[in-house]
Symmetry: C2
């Protein structure tokens, strides 16, 4: 049976986890299945997360540039550290390279260096090898978090408010613009959307501010789209969710670009990937406190729905009609 016949990436990950997954213990508080693993390190947790980017699957050099590729490769890992409520510390970069221009490699590293620097992290090691088939980048990012501040996917409770940071769907719209119009024209048509796709800002300070309230029940970052990611959070917590369509934070640029591309902004939000915003829950009574903490960092945050007992994720339209959330994003 091929991977695609098994059900793709998600099915394969489940199979691997069931057969080879680690048993958690006092030193390994959290393994396969969250944004990152938590390894005990003295009196706190070391956060460990890793992401592999393969040319053609995850990026195309014709609609990207080397600096932004480097930025994003590290940024998405820092985002996973943020999703645990932690602070990034060190990254380890493995890179497989065809025999390309050295200046391109330097640009990739500049991007990685700049985003590390911006969030207080350091490139501390790695591996550099030849690749006959395109650029391959793996980043392993370490971070640190106090034991009582570590945020997991599994803590959502029925009645919780569902909160997201800033606006959603922008990254997917940016990608669609890039695919349709190429780099230059896409930037003219929707610069902020393209920027969001190519140069995501990990929400480190927002996540820290949120967990420091002590009121966050669950948290993750939005890498595969609201629909897929909220389903994962609900599954990990053994709950369901209702999302209100008219509460979804949609940017003005997304409305404009949606009209131009004849797309539905709500499906871009639900199905979209790579926003790298935070998805979190807290008791309803604490939602304002959490939101204010996030706002103190300069970002926005809003309630988009609520956690419910019934184990499904539904989208409620403005006229009260419930439907299943539109689908997410699949690699295989």
């Amino acid at each position: 049976m091929k991977i695609s016949q098994l059900g793709g990436e998600a099915a394969l990950i489940n199979l691997i986890r069931d057969k080879f997954g680690a048993v958690t213990n006092a030193d390994l508080a959290l393994a396969i299945g969250d944004d990152a693993a938590l390894v005990r390190c003295g009196e706190s947790y070391m956060i460990v997360t890793t992401d592999l980017l393969v040319e053609k699957t995850h990026f195309r050099m014709d609609i990207n540039d080397a600096y932004l590729l480097g930025w994003k490769a590290v940024a998405v890992n820092i985002s996973d550290v943020a999703a645990m409520g932690g602070t990034p510390t060190y990254s380890f970069v493995s890179i497989g390279l065809p025999d390309i221009e050295v200046s391109l490699v330097e640009k990739i590293y500049e991007g990685m260096y700049d985003v590390s620097n911006a969030f207080g992290s350091v490139i501390a090691g790695g591996d550099t090898v030849a690749s006959e088939c395109g650029i391959v980048i793996n980043v392993t990012q370490l971070g640190t978090v106090e034991m009582d501040r570590a945020a997991r996917r599994s803590g959502a409770k029925a009645g919780d408010a569902i909160i997201v940071t800033n606006t959603l769907g922008d990254s997917l719209a940016g990608l669609q613009l890039l695919l349709k119009f190429g780099m230059d024209e896409a930037r003219r048509a929707g610069g902020s959307l393209v920027e969001k796709h190519l140069k995501p800002e990990p929400r480190v300070w927002e996540a820290r501010a949120a967990v420091e309230t002590g009121k966050v029940h669950s948290m993750m970052d939005l890498s595969d789209g609201l629909s897929a990611d909220l389903a994962k959070l609900c599954e990990a917590s053994g709950v369901g969710a209702k999302v209100f369509a008219d509460k979804l934070p949609i940017s003005e640029e997304l409305h404009i670009a949606s009209a131009r591309m004849d797309a539905d902004p709500v499906s871009l939000v639900a199905g979209g990937g790579e926003d790298y915003e935070l998805l979190l829950t807290s008791a309803k009574k604490d939602a304002e406190k959490v939101i204010n903490a996030i706002k103190s960092t300069g970002s926005n945050a809003s309630v988009i729905g609520e956690i419910v007992d019934e184990k499904s994720v539904v989208l409620v339209s403005s006229d009260g009609v419930e439907q299943q959330m539109p689908d997410g994003w699949k690699h295989f």
Copy 2:
């Protein structure tokens, strides 16, 4: 300028280290340039190392099998932990996969699982993605070592005895047999050499026994061949080395295979890669103690030369003629 024009992998790594390398501090005791990084973790060091394997560059599925590929991908990382004198703890596996048979993926994970298990380590997380161009595996391995036991490349002193474990050159001879004859015939012609190439045993217990004597001045694992790796150790320590050709530990199988392939066993030892044996130094007076400690684990160890002040690495033939060590292994 292309990477190959710059001088390949090693030149590129130097450039990256100079431009983007981390400054070590109290929490990051050792960064880019050794077998692994050392990150302070409570009262001990966490060891972090990462290796990227790309199909066609590092392995070919026609002369390999999935289980052994998985074994080796993790084993070489555990070997880096051993090289620091540490104990492996957790590994994080990123894997990029074309749409291949699920059973092949399971075999890869079985190999990874078995070698982790054999050395007390656990697969604690990772990333699984699609790849349009062959299998890509990145393993980040964590380990732990007491601060006063951590072995570096930089501690070799003039007058030190140079010690290696077991025999050298076997892995390269195994690879040559595989390339020349294919899997089945190669295994008939030199089973132990092929085994050494495809299923290396990281020298965890040997390294622990050695550092526990308190007498090891410097240590690394032999992944790029004695010539290249000894040059790195000497450069890191600011010293040179004399290696005595008639002291090189050469297996009976290597002698036989060398004759069959019309190759010089000493150049297989010097230029060969991927032995994953240990290269270490200690004061001459302590060499026997270190060797006996290693032997207590069931492996062999022997003195092959000495560290000298003059900064070159020379091979001394049995009749006393000195020559530069033959070249190592290059990827680009």
